[in-house]
Symmetry: C2
Subunit: 323 residues, 2 copies
């Protein structure tokens, strides 16, 4: 009987590893920055960092890494066999078989991989903000936007396991260029990266005069300045955050049209900023969703576990694959 | 043992009723224009037309309408209980309980309703261009764009039964106004209605000089003129049809990102024009789908039954609900 599993969430900026009990309690936590070194050994630097934080967790908790089930949540297109075939926000690992690399470095036959937002969706469905809800979408706002689609109680994986790449839904044809090569992807407007881009543009266009004056020049204004100022009700910052809320609502409205999901759980590293964004996103939904008044209420809630839901869900996958 | 069912497809321009055998053979067919009269009796004119074509079919085939299972495929948001709660392309019936109206007028307890594109998806999955394929989207190009989403072999209905409203996915934020109240919906760019709109705009903007000269003035150029001229390789018309193909591909790319569906079946009343559009749509997919080269081939095929698939699928639903 295995009592604990290790779940790791590898994001565009940091990797978080947790020891999780079967009932969802988090027993230990380690994190480290995600490497973006380009190496001939594709995925090698990422595997090294993940190995290192897992080893640190195990030594802290007195665990043997070869005897604990481990699952790594990864951003981008994960094939059902575990290969990360395309990861625009983690290019140095794009194409790598991280399951195999980590299995080797940890001497373990119990290393699994899953898309990070799918992990978060499973976590929220089992323990969090979507318990008992059969039709919902998990939306992770981080460097990009990830998604986990649950329809009629089941995770939608698609033909190859690539479903849920909702951040690359184009909402502005010929709009802002995206890492993926397309233009106008949703995540260029409503993610952490989108907030960075829109902050830069607003500063240059003269729409953030107070913040530009505080920082000395437009190029020095950062997304964090906007979220902090918005939290303190600075008008120009509130306006920009509402704009992000409008774009967030636009994508949620699209998902509602396609999936009739009715419920959204918003998580990911941008969670704190998203507290500022969600109220306006909820308001804009009424204008943006087709037939809004003919539908039961659409709910948009924050993830119960914030930036931890991906790693917790990864642990859940590790339990499921070894049970 | 019931041998035949009646399937009706009520579109934005016409209603088609078929008598269908259990193996998919179509035994008889009647059609009529869809009424757009506004009446105090919401849905009444539509129910009258449908009743009349069903009665005509029954008298031709020697059937008793109260003894044959009947299903009506309707455009827009159909609730699981059969009420058409919102239908931007069939406003005169929006809000009506057509199942109840028709049950009364046909004295039948075997009248069912389903979304038209869901019907088409079920038909193509059972008998047509998606046999044996577990992850696909049926895309019906008519007055608008309807959709039926099949994931892991099961129709995705969503919380209230409204899933598949893919035509109201916004692909151009703040773009062309849509009947639904939003702006930039996919169906304003890639449906029959979209082709009408884009033809009008292109004629006014001077991008269809030959057709404008033929017709005498820009306002007289119709979508049919463009499709006919494109079929005869007139450059200006070919360019416009390619533009439609690009927009079609954009929406398919979005659905691929969200659902990883891998296969699309294109049907609906615009099928003939879509033969001109599909080759370019397939080409544009390579540029528009995230991680295109990392995926297995994405296939886009025409519906095997063209404008009949909705009515045939409705008959299939009628069989299923009475078996």
């Amino acid at each position: 009987m295995i009592d604990v599993a290790i779940g790791v969430d590898v994001g565009g900026t940091k990797a978080l590893a947790l020891v999780v009990a079967r009932d969802g309690r988090v027993l230990a936590e380690v994190q480290a920055p995600t490497p973006h070194l380009n190496s001939d050994n594709i995925g090698g630097p990422t595997a090294d960092v993940v190995t290192s934080i897992i080893n640190e967790l195990c030594s802290r908790q007195g665990l043997d890494s070869s005897e604990v089930p481990i699952c790594i949540g990864l951003p981008g297109m994960m094939r059902r066999d575990g290969r990360l075939v395309y990861a625009p926000n983690l290019r140095s690992a794009s194409g790598a078989d991280l399951g195999a690399l980590l299995g080797a470095s940890l001497s373990s036959a119990m290393v699994f991989c899953e898309n990070d937002a799918n992990c978060a969706a499973l976590c929220e469905h089992e323990w969090g903000a979507a318990r008992g809800i059969d039709d919902f979408v998990m939306v992770t706002l981080g460097t990009g936007i990830g998604g986990g689609v649950v329809a009629d109680g089941r995770l939608v994986r698609g033909r190859s396991g690539f479903a849920g790449e909702i951040g690359h839904m184009v909402v502005e044809a010929r709009g802002a260029a995206c890492h993926c090569g397309a233009h106008g992807c949703w995540e260029r407007y409503a993610s952490g990266g989108g907030l960075n881009r829109m902050t830069r543009e607003a500063a240059i266009e003269g729409r953030l005069p107070t913040l530009v004056a505080q920082r000395g020049n437009a190029a020095a204004v950062r997304a964090e300045d906007v979220t902090e100022a918005a939290a303190q009700d600075l008008d120009e910052a509130v306006v920009l955050m509402k704009e992000i809320g409008w774009w967030l609502a636009l994508g949620l409205a699209n998902l509602t049209a396609i999936l009739d999901c009715g419920h959204f759980v918003i998580g990911g590293g941008l969670s704190r900023a998203s507290d500022l964004v969600l109220p306006s996103a909820r308001e804009y939904l009424a204008d943006l969703v087709e037939g809004y008044s003919a539908r039961p209420a659409i709910t948009v809630t924050s993830s119960l576990f914030g930036p931890r839901s991906g790693a917790m869900g990864a642990a859940l996958v590790a339990f499921e694959r070894t049970s």
